[in-house]
């Protein structure tokens, strides 16, 4: 029983609730994927009791999590498509993108688990943005989009943190995803020959400029380039959706 190890050390009451929830999900067929099912105990296992003690999350919290889930769906499908159906990523950086892909898949599973039946369905994506990009044939464009998605993800989670303040466990999980996206972003930037941090609103891909708008905001009395790098800025939900929309078909 893999569940025995996965739940080792966890509160028995929580474990029972998670297991019964998993069975319910299985019966209702909400989670059709075998992979997703296998990951469910892990997804629930990391969440503290108060994350779903009340059974149903408040609608504003559900909205934030579904917003995050949509971005994770996008990132997850982007990397899986590149790794599984294309040869765009050279051998040298395969380990990097396999690791990023693994994290994005885990984030999807985690957020689906937290949302249960309230989870939005995965949209259909077009990573060419109607012919603007060719990421699965052109490594340069793949890297540019990867950087854009990761840097946008960092700003998106940052912008929603305050909306999760009533839910300590979910806030912490969002922060724990947020910093992983930042690790990803810095690594992709390095592969592209850039520093890991964002200097003002500077960006070498004009099509991605909305991702960097406002990154040159002043913090306190510090106004140098280093100051802009030292603070990552948030994006509103609307700004993030405007960035993501060209890649969402339906």
């Amino acid at each position: 029983m893999p569940d025995t190890t996965l739940f080792g050390g966890l509160d028995p009451e929580l474990t029972a609730r998670v297991l019964s929830r998993r069975e319910a999900l299985f019966r209702t067929g909400k989670m059709a994927s075998v992979v997703a099912l296998a990951s469910m105990p892990v997804a629930f296992g990391v969440m503290a009791k108060d994350a779903f003690a009340q059974g149903t999350l408040p609608q504003p919290i559900i909205d934030v999590l579904n917003f995050a889930l949509t971005l994770e769906y996008l990132e997850d499908e982007f990397y899986r498509t590149a790794l599984e159906t294309s040869s765009v990523i050279p051998g040298e950086t395969q380990p990097v993108f396999a690791q990023i892909s693994r994290h994005e898949s885990a984030h999807v599973t985690l957020l689906e688990g937290a949302l249960g039946s309230s989870a939005v369905a995965k949209p259909s994506f077009d990573f060419t943005a109607n012919g603007m990009f060719d990421p699965f044939n052109d490594y340069t464009e793949f890297l540019a989009l990867s950087q854009g998605f990761e840097d946008t993800g960092v700003r998106a989670y940052k912008g929603q943190a305050a909306n999760l303040m009533s839910q300590d466990a979910l806030l912490q999980i969002a922060l724990q995803i947020h910093s992983v996206e930042a690790r990803h972003a810095a690594e992709v930037r390095r592969i592209r020959g850039l520093r890991g941090w964002i200097t003002g609103s500077q960006n070498d891909v004009p099509a991605l400029q909305p991702t960097y708008a406002g990154e040159d905001a002043a913090n306190g009395s510090f106004t140098s380039a280093a100051q802009a790098e030292a603070f990552d800025e948030p994006l509103t939900k609307e700004a993030v959706l405007a960035i993501a929309t060209p890649f969402i078909v339906a």
Partner: protein
Amino acid sequence: MFERLTHGAKELQFLARFAEPTGRRRFVQWSGITLGVVALGCSDNNDNNPPDNGVSLGSGDNGILNYAYALEQLEAAFYTMVTASFYANASTDEKNILGDIKAHEVIHRDFLKATLGSAAIADLQVDFSSIDFSSRSSVLGAARAFEDLGVSAYNGAGKLLSNPDYLLVAGKIVSVEARHASAIRAMLQPNTTYFAGDDVVNRDTGLDGANDPASVLATADVYVTTTIDASGLPTT
């Protein structure tokens, strides 16, 4: 007048540390004693500096901000040492990255100090005697540890803040710390999974670390001479 003189004396001591790297250990001990005197001299107008050569982080949001300020002091002092005299054979790229990170950490430190105003704790006395600043692996190993610790500290402290503006500030800083961690890790093991390695990001959940202040301060303790009282920090 007394305060201004002692402040100047402290700056001189700080500079002296770079001029005398071989006597660093002895200097750290000496400066620690001096700090006690300074704290005594200021104790009438600053409740955060009790006269026992320690600091109290305080309570509420200010307590968490002081906790962050303490960590940023530590990181800024570390990278100031690193960039004052780079390890042997540091490449231009490595010097640039470490120089950038030093600038960011100094800005974080000064920003938090300004935000805290009169509630800010005193300058911490640090002890980096366990780090060999002439060794690439020692410096980058310590840098990795500081950055990962900082990320886990901010991730664990977010829920302890009450003011959403401070949560946003913490969020603006923590992702930059995570970028640093990634960059340092890539210097150690480029083009591997190490930038977000399984040792720091859970491979099944995709979650970065999150630690509470007690755990973080216990880890940082080896690098800090000043006694830090965190007993007033919020726990929820």
